[in-house]
Symmetry: C2
Subunit: 186 residues, 2 copies
């Protein structure tokens, strides 16, 4: 982590972070975000998403750049061609990244410099759930185990719990209401 500017800690502009927090405290509606994706099936386990604009800070957040394009695929043992990570791998990638960013941002807000941070994760999944072969087996992850390896001269007990505020951690640890509409087109 380089501190390239006087007010930058862990690559985070602390003045901007403080300004954001104060703005949200003054007007909580600023904190409401809507993230979006679209997807299209290609063949077998291969499909492709685009991630473009999102809503946040009370406005549509548009960008000059092209949408991000992400592909899902499945490995041969799961009957596809292994051209991309699979959906459950994207989820644990997001989990590690979110716990990392949350830790770095919160540490920055506390003025704690993180010299380095790396992490690893493993999740257990039993295909019997997805295949409907055993009603006692859930289709999703049964357990996820992660390890965060942090190097800092700051107070370790302060840093230790930061990842628990991670949006992806919370999204996985607690149930999310999901509404799915299935529409058929001619």
């Amino acid at each position: 982590m380089n501190t390239t500017q006087p007010n930058t800690v862990n690559g985070v502009d602390v003045n901007a972070l403080t300004t954001t927090v104060k703005a949200i405290q003054a007007e909580p509606a600023i904190a409401g975000f809507r993230f979006r994706a679209t997807n299209r099936a290609i063949e077998g386990g291969l499909n492709r998403s685009e991630i473009g604009c999102f809503y946040g800070a009370r406005q549509e957040q548009r960008t000059e750049r092209a949408p991000f394009v992400l592909e899902n695929d499945e490995p041969p043992v799961l009957l596809s061609k292994d051209q991309a990570p699979n959906p459950v791998e994207y989820v644990i990638h997001g989990l590690l990244g979110c716990m990392t960013t949350t830790t770095l941002y919160k540490a920055a807000a506390h003025g704690i410099e993180i010299e380095s941070m790396r992490s690893e994760v493993e999740g257990d999944l039993d295909l019997q759930g997805m295949l409907g072969l055993d009603p006692d087996v859930r289709p999703g992850y049964q357990e996820i185990r992660a390890r965060l390896i942090v190097k800092t001269k700051g107070d370790r007990e302060t840093v230790r719990g930061f990842h628990r505020s991670s949006p992806v951690f919370d999204t996985l640890a607690r149930p999310v209401p999901i509404k799915v509409e299935v529409v058929f087109e001619d």
Copy 2:
């Protein structure tokens, strides 16, 4: 969706799928998978994951190819440089892809050809949760809404519920036990 081989439906080799299901029924341990990722912080909201081998079908599944590399970043309004999707966007990308693949595979198992499938998703997130500004606001997604748009000549009522067996759908809809170990290195 092209049906390129006699036993292929929706790009899925139905004979291989049937063989897999029978093998799991004979020996359920085959169905146990462990997916993994590693990650390293770069700067601010930017970090990078690698996704390499996984465990499944009672063995380490290694591959000749290089690991998949994925980056997380955050947009400027979230104080980073927008070089990649952010972690919560990866989660909804995984959700769409998983519901799509689950629908195509299950349809294939039923001999139902899906001519096309596309989808869209939106998730609500309130930054007050992550920032710890309001204890009543969760850090993660408060609600996720998705729409699946399917074109098929097959029985619509059969197809309608397939996405509910999706591992990512279940992972988000129901709580997952997550164990996180935080280790400090000198």
